[in-house]
Symmetry: C2
Subunit: 209 residues, 2 copies
């Protein structure tokens, strides 16, 4: 495929798709703009139609990742209107951990220090904030009434818990197969403990489960 065959938006998408594939295969450190262009079947100069540099392409891949993560977190509860808050928290946790398991290279990139200068990439910043806001909603649902303590601490706990599990799983630190079935089983166990901790803040004396 030569450069000329892409429409404007298609070229951008092809470059991001190629970069994502390479990041998944090799990790973000070993991906050059030349390799990205080659993977997309375009000239080495073509990426510059849409991106300032290599890091801008990688930021676009991470942005796509945060949008997909938000979608998957959002779908988990919406699909189960009659489920209790714990089940929705568990389903969202499973969505988070399975997203990491399905896209380990992308997930590592999204949370790496590589893109710590996020202010340079407003789309990325917005997409990451949207994922975090979605997580906050899910935690809020697990609180029958506003807790005495700052909700921020509860959201951070939930995020840390599913994030830690996701990282330990994809880096092969747990003695399980890295299948989504095992990921879901572990996430269900871990979010059950988490859910009890969260609810203890809003329903004193109760011990639901």
């Amino acid at each position: 495929v030569s450069k000329g065959t892409y429409h404007h938006g298609d070229l951008r998408r092809a470059i991001v798709r190629s970069a994502r594939k390479l990041i998944e295969e090799r990790g973000p450190h070993d991906v050059s703009l030349r390799a990205i262009a080659k993977g997309a079947g375009v000239s080495s100069a073509a990426p510059y139609h849409h991106f300032d540099d290599r890091t801008a392409v990688i930021a676009a891949v991470a942005t796509e990742g945060f949008r997909e993560l938000t979608d998957r977190l959002g779908l988990a509860p919406t699909g189960l209107q009659d489920a209790g808050p714990l089940q929705r928290l568990q389903d969202a946790g499973i969505a988070y951990v399975c997203f990491a398991n399905d896209n380990p290279g992308l997930f590592r990139l999204m949370f790496s220090g590589l893109l710590s200068e996020r202010s340079r990439y407003p789309d990325l910043q917005e997409a990451a904030a949207a994922a975090f806001a979605m997580l906050g909603e899910l935690v809020g649902e697990n609180l029958a009434r506003p807790p005495g303590e700052a909700t921020d601490a509860l959201v951070l706990t939930a995020w840390s818990t599913v994030h830690g599990l996701a990282v330990l799983l994809i880096e092969g630190r747990l003695d399980v197969r890295q299948t989504n079935e095992d990921a879901a089983r572990l996430t269900r166990e871990v979010t059950r403990v988490l859910g009890r901790g969260l609810r203890s803040y809003s329903r004193p004396g109760r011990d639901g489960g």
Copy 2:
């Protein structure tokens, strides 16, 4: 310093120290055996007196990391015999997160997929297992009696929670300064929720903490 000036054990230690310093500065991917030898002030052949290859040196650094982590986890509760179990869990959590914050490159290495063939390195395997066992003890202390559910799930929850927080902190994903003061504050908040979740398994109807 020339090669001849090292005693046997000192040479090994000097090589591990040099590797650790380079891993902290550059990450494990960009550290060559040549650079490690140079940093230790020895010939490029000297590391082969003690190590088969570059990965074996890196495994020795990770082993040292797990031993230090275990020591720091163990010191946290021992120092406070009269503290309650929640405070010991919090102190150990703080030790875990601050260890990561003090040694981000080492911490990334210890939990990277880079050393997934741990069976090749029995010392590393043993050191990692000891750290995990220490975590299990700390979680056990937070359970007044054996829970109905598998304790494994509770240990995994605790590990995921502090590990997730450590990773999010060192990769700059939290809107805080990466100081040990901020790390301790966040860990205290997160382990408070965790502790409540853990205790709900062993003390039905109670809501301590």
